[in-house]
């Protein structure tokens, strides 16, 4: 094998070797909090993120292993962000897991590392099978993570639901891929692209496959009407695992949308843009309206995720107008900026929920946050920043995410897309209501418990930085935006 091939999977090699090593080391760990396993996992994640970030500098696009995987800026960036997101998840989740007897073995850390390995291959895969294998590695690890509290009925039920629906989604995706394979004769993303672009293949067959692929992707992203698993799994899974499912994997899901729909099927953009637009409308409606009625915070955030994914999908809608892909970089980079800022914000919101949960007490209801400002102004402030960001109020990063997506719609100059933008804006007004309600509970209501909020040093530092980053990226969003644009421009070869 040539050097380029090794380079394309260098971060994954490190990750895999370390994950196996940590599994072995963990056998000897006796500590209740698994400090050694934890520290080794963090070091691994930092190293993986650093390798990815340094590889992301190169403008070159390298393919390796006969076109199975690719090394490009977007891929390395997303892999680095995913590694950091997993790292943050583990930092927030460890005290929670330790309190709930989930650290009897080191599975939480090891499964998370393998989940990250799966995500990395989803992100870098250039071949249907590769992407599918990455996805399966991620989801199998996640099923096990959800079921980690095997004596806990709700968590087990969530795991079952997640497994059955997740398997169905994988089935959809696989079925769609097989249709495309049948039509184009190739599993390679770029060959599929060329085959479609040649115009030799019957449109009906392609669209038939496409429908299944899009459905599978919608399942994984959690877009309505394929969203049913999200609220139940978010609510039922142990919160640390909810964050593991709701954080980093969104980056990978974004990446496979790019790989499959943009890199593989851009000539079919006219068809999939319509599908995504409908999914987006449904997600914005269902997510925002259902979130209003929730009293459980995790469930509310689950519906809010559905609505946020609607916005991400809108970012894919404005790429190709009248068969011209002139606006593609603008549109897809807005979606990428959206998903990155969304994951950043979600990490902190769940971090707060994890922090407020104590031994024998799940801080799950919105009412559990009552008077948080009086118990801990710092954490109330972090949570408020995140909620305002999710609501899209400046000067938080979420505002610029919404602004970029709306801009990508309006810039097309199409009346329909302008209508979509106005609809999205009105829906975010609805969204503002339920986010504000949580702020209200934290700031305006009297606390029900006087317990002070205490956190280990690592959680305190990371959580404060995380909240600060949501604000700072809102004050100076230019850098991250430029990075996302650069990544997408290089990807599209413009």
């Amino acid at each position: 094998m040539d050097n380029a091939s090794w380079l394309t999977i260098a971060p994954e090699l490190v990750l895999m070797v370390m994950a196996c090593l940590i599994t072995l080391v963990d056998l000897g760990v006796r500590s209740r909090t698994r400090t050694l396993t934890y520290v080794l996992s963090l070091i691994t994640l930092v190293v993986v993120a650093a390798i990815n970030l340094s590889l992301a500098q190169s403008p070159e696009v390298l393919t390796g292993w006969g076109g199975l995987v690719v090394s490009d800026t977007m891929g390395h960036l997303l892999r680095a962000f995913a590694a950091l997101a997993v790292l943050v998840t583990l930092v927030y989740g460890r005290p929670y897991a330790a309190d709930r007897d989930m650290l009897r073995g080191g599975e939480m850390f090891i499964l998370s590392l393998f989940a990250l390995l799966g995500m990395s291959f989803m992100i870098s895969g250039q071949n249907f099978i590769m992407i599918y294998l990455g996805l399966e590695l991620l989801t199998l690890s996640s099923y096990a993570l959800v079921a980690l509290r095997r004596d806990h009925a709700v968590a087990t039920e969530a795991a079952m639901k997640y497994f059955v629906l997740g398997a169905m989604a994988s089935g959809f995706l696989l079925y769609g891929m097989s249709m495309l394979y049948g039509a184009t004769g190739s599993l390679d993303v770029h060959e599929v692209f060329s085959a479609i672009a040649s115009g030799q293949i019957r449109h009906q067959v392609l669209v038939f496959g496409l429908v299944f692929v899009v459905s599978g992707l919608a399942f994984k992203l959690g877009a309505a009407p394929f969203h049913m698993w999200i609220p139940d799994v978010y609510q039922g899974a142990p919160t640390a695992v909810t964050l593991m499912i709701g954080g980093a994997p969104k980056l990978a899901a974004f990446a496979i949308v790019i790989r499959l729909l943009v890199e593989g099927m851009l000539p079919l953009a006219f068809d999939w843009q319509q599908m995504l637009a409908l999914l987006a409308i449904a997600s914005l409606l269902v997510g925002n309206l259902a979130a209003i009625a929730q009293t459980n915070l995790k469930r509310m955030l689950a519906y809010s995720t559905i609505a946020q994914m609607g916005f991400v999908l809108l970012g894919f809608v404005g790429g190709v107008v009248n068969g011209q892909a002139l606006l593609a970089a603008n549109a897809y980079s807005s979606a990428m900026f959206y998903i990155v800022s969304y994951v950043l914000t979600t990490l902190a919101t769940f971090g707060i929920i994890l922090l407020l949960s104590r031994q024998g007490f799940e801080s799950e209801e919105i009412a559990d946050l009552a008077g948080l400002n009086q118990r801990s102004p710092l954490y109330a402030g972090v949570m408020a920043i995140c909620l305002f960001s999710l609501a899209g109020i400046p000067p938080m990063v979420g505002f610029y995410a919404k602004l970029s997506v709306l801009q990508s719609l309006v810039v097309t100059g199409q009346t329909v897309y302008l209508g979509l933008a106005i609809f999205a804006v009105l829906m975010s007004l609805v969204g503002a209501f339920y986010y504000l309600r949580v702020v209200k509970v934290m700031y305006f209501d009297a606390p029900v418990t006087a317990t002070t909020v205490s956190a280990p040093a690592d959680v305190r530092v990371v959580l404060s930085l995380n909240g600060l980053l949501v604000l700072v990226l809102g004050i100076v969003p230019g850098g991250l935006m430029a990075v996302c644009t650069e990544a997408i421009v290089r990807l599209l070869g413009l």
Partner: protein, 492 residues
């Protein structure tokens, strides 16, 4: 760092330091630090006055640096005669509200003071932003501290008020956001407000833009019929919150008309001027009548604010120098007067804990010093010559008579309503025999309250007796604006 940046970031920096200072045990230190912060923030606006060049309509103290390169967004600040006075006014009112909250606020003192300081910086940012996105960011960001101020330190029905305030104004501004994005595209990728003002636009887009901006600014002003949030919010907000809301926040909307609606869509503005004048007159007359029957002092002043802001929008849309300058003068004067009115109510409320007019009577007997101030502010609220309230209303009425005699007559008749509801309230609250034990036990204002009211009284009298410095600074920019608005932007 430029002077304007200094004016924006000084209060915000002090606010952040206060937030970090945490606990209520250090409340005395927090209060003094907040006062120092507010005074320093006011002092840094003084060089602006010294350095302001008369005789030009151009932007001054301009600062420009790239901010978000992807969208060609700049950190672009500047002041002209239209926006100038609101910068010191905002900083001044912040000093006043810090003084006003000195004793009343006992819980989360640092957050209270920080919210006002940060709010002050953000509002100065709105007045000095010359970039569409920068303007929008400041404009929206002001909602967050105000929402918290109302919700944490407000009255019994504070939660309803906080939500109404936030969602009502958010709806308006979101439509403006779409308008901003549209202008970005129409101008070929620029968020520069000055570029937008020069951009030729057909009538159709102009109309849509005008109404999108109208949605944002009319709610904020507030114009009739979208004023209903204001009385609810004023009643529940803490005294300081009401004062800043009435004195500064409402002006953000009126200012938006001059900076966006009129220069960007001048043809639509002329086309729909009649509509705007009618809405303004309804506010002046009908809302004035509504104010008359209020039982709650804060509600009365809130409705009176809507009526006074009606004069402002009336002045703007008659398109002559007297009207526009009059509207601007009225905005500043109303800042002082309405702020003073709410603070006076606050002084009574802190002692008796009632805002009902019926709970009072004969306050002059127990609080003579305070009643003297209250009388001055009441007179200013009716527009008595020699007080700040007179100048703006008089200019608007003169301008209106020039434009259309009957509009002038209607506007002038509204002065009578203003006098009626203000003086009637004054009579019922302050004059007559002592009404009950609460009033009998009242103690007159202390040195802090005296200082706070005296500062406002000086401002009200100074502006009423010698409005020259105020009008002088506006003159050239107003003339420039009107010249610009008179030209059609429809491409031939």
């Amino acid at each position: 760092m430029g002077l304007l940046s200094l004016a924006i970031w000084t209060p915000i920096a002090f606010g952040v330091v206060l937030l970090a200072l945490g606990r209520d045990e250090q409340a005395p230190m927090v209060r003094w630090l907040a006062l120092i912060g507010a005074i320093v923030s006011l002092l840094v606006t003084v060089p602006l006055y010294d350095g302001f060049q008369l005789g030009t309509a151009a932007m001054q103290f301009v600062e420009k640096a790239p901010w978000i390169e992807r969208f060609n967004v700049h950190y672009h600040l500047g002041l002209d005669g239209i926006s100038f006075w609101f910068v010191p006014l905002t900083a001044f009112m912040t000093v006043i509200v810090v003084l006003a909250g000195w004793e009343v606020i006992q819980q989360k003192v640092n957050q209270y003071m920080a919210a006002f300081l940060i709010l002050s910086g953000l509002m100065i940012g709105v007045f000095s932003a010359l970039d569409g996105v920068l303007f929008y960011v400041f404009f929206e960001a002001t909602l967050i501290p105000m929402y918290l101020i109302i919700g944490i330190w407000g009255g019994p029905n504070k939660i309803y008020a906080a939500f109404k305030f936030f969602l009502y104004t958010l709806l308006g501004s979101l439509l403006m956001l779409i308008a901003l994005i549209y202008l970005y595209l129409a101008s070929g990728g620029s968020f520069d407000i000055a570029t937008w003002q020069q951009l030729p636009l057909p009538m159709g887009p102009q109309t849509l833009l005008f109404f999108a901006f109208f949605a944002a600014f009319a709610v904020k002003v507030p114009m009739w019929p979208v004023h209903t949030w204001l009385p609810d919010v004023h009643v529940e907000a803490p005294t300081g919150g009401s004062a800043v809301l009435a004195a500064i926040m409402l002006k953000l909307g009126a200012y938006g008309f001059l900076r966006f609606s009129m220069p960007i869509a001048p043809d639509a503005a002329r086309e729909y001027a009649t509509l705007m004048i009618v809405l303004s007159l309804v506010a002046v007359i009908y809302v004035g009548l509504v104010a008359m029957v209020q039982q709650d002092m804060k509600k009365l002043v809130a409705y009176s604010s809507v009526a006074h802001m009606g004069f402002v929008t009336l002045g703007f849309f008659i398109f002559n120098p007297l009207g526009v300058s009059g509207g601007l003068v009225q905005m500043i004067a109303h800042g002082f007067v309405s702020g003073a009115m709410f603070l006076s109510i606050g002084v009574l409320y802190d002692r008796v804990h009632s805002r009902e007019i019926a709970s009072y009577g004969g306050v002059v007997n127990t609080m003579p010093k305070f009643a003297a101030f209250a009388l001055l502010f009441a007179m200013a609220n009716c527009g008595l010559p020699g007080t700040a309230g007179f100048v703006g209303e008089w200019m608007v009425i003169l301008g209106a008579v020039k434009a259309n005699f009957w509009v002038g007559v209607l506007a002038a008749s509204a002065l009578i309503f203003g006098a009626a509801y203000t003086l009637w309230m004054f009579k019922r609250v302050y004059l007559g025999p002592v009404a009950n034990d609460d009033v009998r036990e009242l103690t007159d204002i202390n040195a802090r309250e005296f200082l706070m009211l005296a500062l406002l009284a000086v401002a009200v009298l100074y502006m009423g007796l010698y409005p020259e410095p105020f009008t002088q600074i506006m003159e050239d920019s107003v003339a420039g604006l009107l010249k610009h608005v008179a030209l059609s932007k429809i491409p031939s």
